[in-house]
């Protein structure tokens, strides 16, 4: 007699991965008809970009969506990547969790390798049709064409048809065509938006999209330069988990503990390995495969207590400040924003053994809508995140920051701010901690949130400096008009009436302006940025202070500069000491920056120190701890300059009272 337990045991069977996902498609992001269509396009485009980059090919990606009937669409994605060899094609497209990238630790879009095969599976689930893949790897060769479906019970590909075809338009590349149920929409969460945002953070790619109505959208590449390739790295000791450590010893080729540590981990040198062994009371020659649970625990504890250098971060490929700006400009210029704040790429840091870095860009003003919440563009490893905005660490960082000091409106200093701005945040990492398998939002890790905040603040400061400069220069313009045009006329006329010589106006001008006015210009000529800075002392007294100009890395080689600055730090700033500049005198500074692209330097970031900031127009006060960028910068709160009139004096012309007794 079989017991109940045995009866139940008989029913247990293995469920394949694909079968599991078939029934839980929302885990992969295929929740709704609208979203599924976007996911389908996304997985294919991600793959194409990754492949092209690995082969150092400037990506040309063609996306087409055709409407078959009310619910069904045909999606075609084509790239000029290296192509996939025929032997491997079925597995790539017809088998879940198959991929080269799953095992390696590197920054890539298709980290999990589920992607495209899930799309194929979803397509066949909803339409019953296979996906067709065409791929060509050699210029003079033929392309292979296959119709593929996923066998969900076994998680293996079913190749329904296989052919060799001539594909002359391409030297190499891959094209996939699949059918799926979906819904094509326009607006915030749509295929077009997805492709648009992809174009922003991949300025090296050209994307051409044809929508179901036949309308074509072309996002041309903004640069021919490929991003630096990402590198694979070994795991870093920090934050490594016990189970993972134990598994690593099972597959290692090393038979000595110290060798295991040195070979299989990132940043463990001979000395560090020795130190770890000492601290864990283990011998360096210990066999890693024979460690006991207790010993593993000791090892783990030792690894976290020893000071280990942060992982190399050249495995990451940031978009970079220049290209973020170019990308934004390229795609957004129709909205005519007024100002692109110089983007910020923060230095990489580490979370649980995985390097990551944050990049931030802010676009402001112009035709962007003023009374609405700002637009947030989120990216993870150069892939746009369109959903789950509220759950994402990027959003949380934005909500937590007080944006009011950066010229946006925000009730109570919390929550999403309002204003004419677009904020772009890109997180690049060898392993992005998503909130779910659908890879829609980044998990709320405190270290990450802090980095995002620091990036936002740095970029926000640049926005604020620009807006401040504009505002104060605008206000002073009125005074300029007075001293340059009206005052001389008054002097001339009054002199004529009283019959005397026209008086000198220097004293009066300095009293009216009462500022040090800094005028700066940039000219790009012969591949050099020629910068001219003129400092006018329009105050009644002589002034002494320091003037600083921020300069990008590598731009001051063999630089011609006059007068000679007191300090020059490449990638940081140049400082001039201006001593005893007398009243109504001016000093002219000229310099040249080399090695930068034209748009890489469009505004002079000037700071002053050693003078009350109220008296300077054209340079913000130098933030307190300038040299320690990682720490929060102390902001100097420059309050409004006091009203110029004497306390008791009433402005005669400002009396609002209507003097006529009639209406």
């Amino acid at each position: 007699m079989t017991s109940i337990a045995e009866q139940l045991a008989k029913k247990q069977k293995e469920i394949s991965v694909s079968e599991f996902f078939e029934r839980n498609r929302q885990i992969l992001g295929f929740d709704s008809a609208t979203k599924s269509l976007i996911m389908g396009v996304k997985e294919a485009v991600d793959n194409s970009l990754d492949a092209c980059e690995e082969a150092s090919i400037s990506p040309d990606i063609i996306v087409k969506i055709d409407r078959v009937d009310q619910n069904e669409y045909m999606v075609t994605v084509e790239d000029n990547g290296p192509g996939i060899i025929p032997r491997v094609v079925p597995n790539v497209f017809g088998r879940l969790l198959y991929g080269s990238r799953f095992h390696s630790l590197r920054q890539s879009r298709g980290q999990q390798g589920i992607g495209i095969s899930a799309t194929v599976m979803y397509g066949q689930m909803t339409t019953g049709k296979p996906a067709t893949v065409v791929s060509k790897t050699e210029k003079n060769g033929a392309a292979v064409k296959m119709d593929i479906m996923v066998n969900t019970k076994k998680n293996t590909p079913d190749v329904l048809k296989e052919d060799f075809v001539i594909w002359d338009e391409k030297e190499h590349g891959t094209k996939i065509e699949f059918y799926m149920n979906g819904r094509y929409v326009v607006g915030k969460q749509s295929v077009l938006e997805y492709l648009k945002e992809t174009a922003i953070v991949n300025p090296h790619a050209t994307i051409i999209f044809t929508d179901p109505d036949g309308k074509k959208y072309i996002f041309e590449r903004a640069t021919d330069k490929m991003p630096p390739p990402t590198k694979e790295i070994k795991p870093h000791p920090e934050g490594i988990e016990l189970g993972v450590l134990m598994n690593m010893t099972k597959v290692t080729t090393a038979n000595k503990l110290s060798k295991f540590l040195r070979n299989d981990f990132n940043r463990i040198s001979e000395r560090v390995a020795k130190e770890i062994c000492e601290k864990s009371w283990l011998s360096e020659d210990e066999k890693p495969q024979e460690l006991t649970l207790e010993q593993f625990k000791q090892l783990l504890a030792a690894m976290s207590s020893v000071k280990i250098m942060a992982p190399q971060t050249d495995c990451l490929s940031p978009i970079g400040e220049v290209l973020i700006r170019k990308g934004l400009k390229n795609v957004l210029d129709e909205s005519r924003p007024e100002f692109y704040a110089p983007p910020v790429t923060r230095e990489p840091t580490v979370y649980q053994g995985n390097p990551f870095l944050i990049e931030v860009g802010i676009v402001y003003g112009g035709n962007l809508p003023k009374d609405q919440p700002i637009t947030i563009l989120r990216f993870a490893n150069r892939v746009p995140l369109l959903y789950q905005q509220g759950a994402c660490v990027i959003t949380k960082a934005i909500e937590r920051m007080d944006w009011r000091r950066y010229v946006l409106e925000q009730r109570g200093g919390e929550g999403i701010p309002y204003g004419p701005a677009i904020v772009l945040v890109h997180v690049a990492s060898t392993k992005i901690p998503f909130t779910s398998e659908a890879k829609e939002a980044i998990a709320n890790i405190p270290e990450m949130q802090e980095e995002v905040e620091l990036g936002l603040k740095a970029c926000g400061r640049r926005l604020k400096t620009h807006l401040n400069k504009k505002e104060t220069k605008g206000k002073t313009k009125a005074k300029f008009e007075i001293v340059q045009e009206i005052l001389p006329l008054i002097a001339e006329k009054s002199a004529k009436i009283v019959g005397k010589d026209v008086p000198s106006l220097n004293g009066t001008i300095t009293k009216i302006m009462n500022v040090v006015w800094i005028d700066d210009t940039i000219k790009f000529e012969n591949k050099k940025h020629k910068i001219k800075i003129t400092v006018y002392n329009y105050t009644p007294k002589s002034q002494s202070f320091s003037l600083h100009l921020v300069v990008p890395q590598g731009s001051i080689q063999d630089m011609k500069v006059d007068p000679i600055p007191s300090e020059m730090k490449d990638g940081q700033k140049i400082t001039w000491e201006l001593r005893r500049l007398s009243s109504t005198a001016k000093v002219e500074i000229a310099l040249e920056l080399t090695g930068l692209e034209a748009e890489a330097y469009e505004e002079n970031e000037l700071y002053s120190s050693g003078i009350n900031p109220i008296f300077i127009i054209g340079a913000d006060p130098l933030p307190g701890d300038w040299d320690v960028e990682a720490l929060a910068v102390t902001e100097v709160d420059v309050s409004e300059a006091p009203e110029d009139l004497d306390e008791e004096e009433v402005d005669y012309d400002e009396q609002a009272e209507v003097l006529n007794d009639e209406q």
Partner: protein, 371 residues
């Protein structure tokens, strides 16, 4: 300008010297490296003071500065320089100009151009205040003509060619009366004699014609003066001379609304705008016969609802020092409560002769001017 009564004299005010002083002050300030400014008494409600000796409202001690620190101030100072030069030229050439002409001439002053007629009028008044002269000394005359006069009054007027004409303001004039010129000083007009009992200053042309047609001037011995709305300086000056030289009491008869109350106030107390020369223009003993808020009630006059602007004006008048007495406060509050206003011609409800047969005799007897 000179005056035979004990009011403040303005003799020995050489306008040219005064103007020169202004330019000189600006010039000296510039030479000294200071920011040039002009200090001018504030012309606001809060800076009017009642002068008991003169019985009129004048500017107090509060002053404001027009400084080149601000764009508006600098522009006004520039305009002032241009105007000074312009006036000097006119005086030298013995020409004169209307305020309107000065406004147009400023088109050629570049940055010194006036942005509106009001602006140039106000500047002319600023100069009056600072120099203690009147516009006419600067050869500037206004647009508005004075009003009309009908009644038992004989005057002589020296016309533009220097000829002296004797005019009886009833027999020698047409039905619209004698037109008051812009200059009503003794060098131009002399008041000879009058058999009238009082001066009745009337706001609207319609009422003026009604009283003439009804022969009210003869019946009541009233010297009718048509104010033509807010009265011009010359009109007010003329009325003041009638009061002082001919010893004629003055009564104002206007519509019943806040704007008309101000017309009365400018006749009796002086306008805020011209407080610096109130003693020449205001007739402090002038009385107000109506239309009052009480009249609207007592005579059940056809009326209109007050607009928002009317209400605002009434509330402003409650704060106006010129209306700060028991009679006016009462009337203004009553009107606000009533929420109604009425025209003087509304008296026609009771017939065309009601105003001259009943209303005016009743009310003027109360005041004590009617025989």
């Amino acid at each position: 300008m000179s005056n035979d009564n004990g009011t403040e004299e303005k003799l020995d005010n050489d306008p040219v010297a005064r103007l020169y002083e202004i330019a000189s002050s600006i010039y000296d300030q510039l030479s000294a490296g200071r920011i040039p400014k002009m200090v001018i008494p504030l012309r606001t409600k809060s800076n009017i003071r009642f002068d008991p000796k003169l019985g009129v409202w004048k500017y107090g001690k509060a002053s404001g500065a027009r400084s080149a620190k601000k764009t508006k101030g600098a522009q006004m100072l520039l305009r002032t320089m241009f105007v000074l030069e312009f006036i000097e030229d006119m005086i030298a050439q013995n020409k004169s100009s209307t305020l309107r002409e000065m406004y147009y001439i400023s088109e050629g002053w570049g940055k010194g151009k006036f942005s509106s007629q009001d602006e140039s009028n106000l500047l002319a008044e600023d100069l009056e205040i600072v120099t203690k002269c009147v516009r006419e000394d600067f050869k500037l005359r206004p647009e508005e003509n004075g009003a009309s006069v009908m009644g038992d009054l004989v005057i002589t007027e020296t016309d533009r060619k220097g000829k002296v004409k004797k005019i009886n303001c009833r027999d020698d004039v047409g039905d619209s009366g004698y037109g008051i010129p812009y200059n009503v000083e003794k060098d131009k007009i002399k008041l000879i004699e009058s058999g009238a009992a009082f001066v009745l200053a009337i706001e609207t042309g319609g009422m003026f014609d009604r009283l003439i047609e009804n022969g009210f001037d003869e019946k009541a011995g009233a010297l009718l003066v048509h104010l033509k709305g807010q009265p011009a300086r010359s009109t007010r000056r003329f009325i003041k001379r009638l009061n002082e030289e001919m010893n004629l009491p003055v009564v104002a008869f206007t519509d019943g609304d806040p704007w008309s109350f101000r017309i009365y106030a400018s006749v009796a107390y002086g306008a805020i705008k011209t407080a610096h020369i109130s003693e020449y223009l205001a007739t402090p003993t002038a009385e107000f016969v109506g239309i009052t808020a009480s009249d609207i009630v007592n005579y059940e006059l056809p009326s209109d609802k007050l607009t928002d602007m009317d209400v605002r004006a009434l509330n402003a008048e409650l704060k106006d020092p010129r209306f700060n007495d028991e009679f006016w406060r009462g009337e203004i509050e009553t009107m606000l409560q009533l929420n109604k206003k009425a025209e003087q011609q509304a008296l026609a409800k009771y017939g065309l002769d009601y105003v001259t047969d009943t209303y005016l005799p009743e009310k003027l007897t109360e005041i004590g001017v009617m025989r």
